[in-house]
């Protein structure tokens, strides 16, 4: 089993005809993803040849959904056009919309998050690596060949730290790894993923990776205390980040006394979540958590 994305997911790619879209569509296909359509306004009727599969291109998400039954959209369009693309997916009632694009204005994210909440779409991202259910499907840019299928769930703000952890624990494998994105406002939170992993019979334990900025980790800690029975181990990046400097991700900034890595670590440890000092130690903690079950 897995969360949000399974072998039955029928994936369409918005912006598939662009360079990034084409490159990553090929990679997703190689990871076993059932890519059923591409969407590029004005290019309906065309198709793109990926070797073993030729993927039809539609002019709108609504057309693509009607013709192919797509139920996941992955968005690779430039920031200027991202809001429009996502709102189109929401209007077409696509159940899952994964927004890879980096540099989306926060106002746009707030707006499409609200529209999605009022409709029937889950948004992951923006500015995220997407999600992968190894051996089943990949929606985004997480490399499939550095890990394997298994029973650990992972949720992270950071792409490369996701890669690091799924690689370190590749022998045990993952049900699903979700990169929720490093922007201040994202569609799916740590808590949404924790809830889904808790309910997923295919997930035995959860790795949560956080970083400085905001209070999502503190909220996740409170949620874990009240709702999560499966073992959770965590890692928090950014202990050495100075106040007021943005560390790469738009959301990764310590302002005043809030958003520090130390506060996040303490909040997690207070509810019994073991927090690794390094990614490698976090992987070790996960192994011992699984051994103890």
């Amino acid at each position: 089993m897995a969360i949000f994305l399974t072998k039955d997911s029928r994936v369409l790619v918005q912006g598939m005809t662009g360079a990034e879209g084409r490159r990553h569509t090929a990679r997703m296909l190689a990871a076993g993803t059932d890519i059923v359509a591409g969407v590029t306004p004005g290019k309906g009727g065309a198709s793109v040849d990926f070797g073993e599969r030729t993927v039809p291109v539609f002019g709108s998400v609504a057309d693509a959904v009607e013709e192919t039954g797509a139920d996941v959209s992955v968005v690779f369009v430039p920031p200027k056009f991202t809001a429009g693309a996502v709102e189109e997916a929401i209007a077409a009632q696509v159940p899952l919309c994964v927004v890879i694009t980096e540099g989306v204005p926060v106002h746009d994210a707030v707006r499409f998050r609200a529209l999605a909440a009022a409709g029937s779409t889950r948004i992951i991202g923006p500015n995220c690596p997407g999600l992968i259910s190894p051996g089943q499907s990949s929606a985004g840019i997480i490399p499939a060949d550095i890990t394997s299928a298994g029973r650990i769930g992972l949720v992270s703000k950071s792409g490369t730290l996701t890669y690091q952890l799924i690689y370190e624990l590749r022998d045990l494998g993952f049900s699903t790894a979700v990169g929720i994105g490093g922007d201040p406002v994202v569609g799916t939170t740590h808590i949404d993923c924790l809830r889904a992993f808790e309910e997923d019979p295919g997930t035995d334990a959860i790795v949560m990776i956080g970083e400085i900025g905001g209070d999502a980790e503190e909220r996740a800690a409170a949620y874990i205390a009240a709702n999560v029975t499966k073992p959770v181990v965590a890692y928090v990046a950014g202990f050495t980040a100075p106040e007021g400097k943005t560390m790469g991700h738009a959301g990764a900034i310590v302002s005043g006394s809030s958003g520090t890595a130390q506060a996040k670590k303490e909040a997690l440890e207070a509810v019994g979540v073991r927090v690794g000092k390094t990614p490698t130690e976090t992987a070790r903690l996960m192994r011992s958590a699984l051994d103890a079950r």
Partner: protein, 376 residues
């Protein structure tokens, strides 16, 4: 990006929000001229992007042009919590009868907008929140519907502000929306003795991601290494230590800094070269780090995800050739892991570059870089 007070007030003025008459000055002579033009007692206000200006002596009254010049002389160049005041705002002294607080902002936790209004303005909002949390009215704002006249009236009614503040709140909301701001804060928003609502201060943070749909010209006067890096598309933040850090992905680089600190050394910088490390990008990154005189060793921490490690290794080898003698023999510890790591490591060891040492784990590489920086 945070705006200076004078920039925020220019925006307010454009959106019809009353602000005191005033102009920004970069020299005492300019301050004198502005004061003469305003022909009324003025306040000289240091333009820095930090709080606590008043306590630091960065806000000074001046009765006339001569006083404005001498006070500006005092304030320009002042260091307030590490921020140098390069300009002052010279504006007509305005006496508050009452002081309020008003802000619209992006509420990260809820992924929505939030209004915060209080009849007790003037002090820091964190301080007020700690002392009397009930004095702050917080109202989530529907991002699609926004703030209309009704919502604005509801806000001033709940918070106990005079009703003539409602249209000002509506206009503040429009600043947030139309300028793609993440925060619009007025503290204090005042009511004068003759019942006028005036924004006496202004704090606006605009979203850099939205620059493509605005004609902002908020250039920073910076010749720092950080600015040079940004011009090359690199994300660099200078820190205080001796171990230069370079890696791919913001999360991994942040984590690398922590691991270096854990190994007993202080990182010299944050530098994210992003995905798909090309030789040129790697060379640019190394060059910036080696230009920092504090750097004693460099840690290159790359996890091959999308980009395979052999490509990264080739990038590092080419980068070192491009750099040539500019490396000054500073030791470079490289950790490659992930996709095609074995091949990547072999490429680096075959290149036999004298400054390069390889360690296969992140923790081990950080320990070696820390030891090398300490001179061991």
């Amino acid at each position: 990006m945070d705006l200076y007070e004078y920039q925020a007030k220019e925006l307010f003025g454009r959106h019809g929000i009353p602000v005191p008459a005033g102009k920004v000055a970069a020299t005492p002579a300019e301050a004198r001229a502005i004061s003469a033009e305003l022909d009324t007692p003025v306040v000289i206000k240091a333009q820095v992007k930090t709080g606590g200006r008043g306590k630091a002596g960065g806000i000074r009254p001046a009765a006339g042009p001569a006083a404005a010049e001498s006070e500006a002389e005092h304030v320009i160049g002042m260091d307030i919590k590490g921020h140098i005041a390069r300009r002052v705002l010279v504006e007509a002294a305005t006496v508050p009868f009452e002081e309020y607080y008003a802000a619209f902002l992006v509420d990260r936790a809820e992924g929505a907008f939030l209004a915060m209004v209080s009849a007790q303005g003037g002090m820091e909002i964190e301080e007020l929140a700690a002392r009397d949390p009930d004095a702050i009215v917080k109202l989530p704002i529907d991002p699609v519907a926004g703030v209309d006249a009704d919502t604005a009236r509801q806000l001033v009614g709940k918070a106990g502000l005079p009703e003539q503040a409602a249209p000002v709140l509506e206009k503040l909301w429009r600043v947030l929306v139309e300028e793609d701001a993440l925060l619009v804060e007025v503290n204090p928003l005042i009511c004068t003795a003759d019942q006028q609502i005036v924004a006496l201060d202004g704090k606006v943070t605009v979203d850099d991601n939205a620059a493509f749909r605005h004609s902002w010209e908020y250039a920073e006067e910076s010749v720092s290494l950080e600015a040079q890096a940004k011009a090359k598309g690199l994300n660099y933040v200078k820190l205080d230590g001796k171990v230069g850090v370079i890696g791919n992905g913001a999360g991994l680089v942040m984590s690398t800094l922590d691991v270096v600190a854990g190994a007993g050394a202080a990182p010299a910088n944050f530098l994210d070269i992003g995905g798909g490390a090309s030789a040129q990008v790697m060379a640019d990154g190394l060059e910036i780090i080696l230009a920092d005189p504090d750097v004693r060793s460099v840690l290159v921490n790359v996890f091959g995800g999308i980009t395979a490690c052999d490509a990264v290794a080739n990038g590092i080898v080419t980068a070192l050739q491009l750099l040539g003698e500019r490396g000054h023999g500073t030791p470079i510890v490289v950790r490659l892991d992930g996709n095609n790591a074995e091949v990547g490591r072999r490429i680096l060891s075959d290149a036999r570059h004298p400054a390069v040492r390889q360690v296969s784990t992140m923790d081990g590489a950080a320990e070696l870089a820390a030891r090398l920086a300490a001179g061991a």
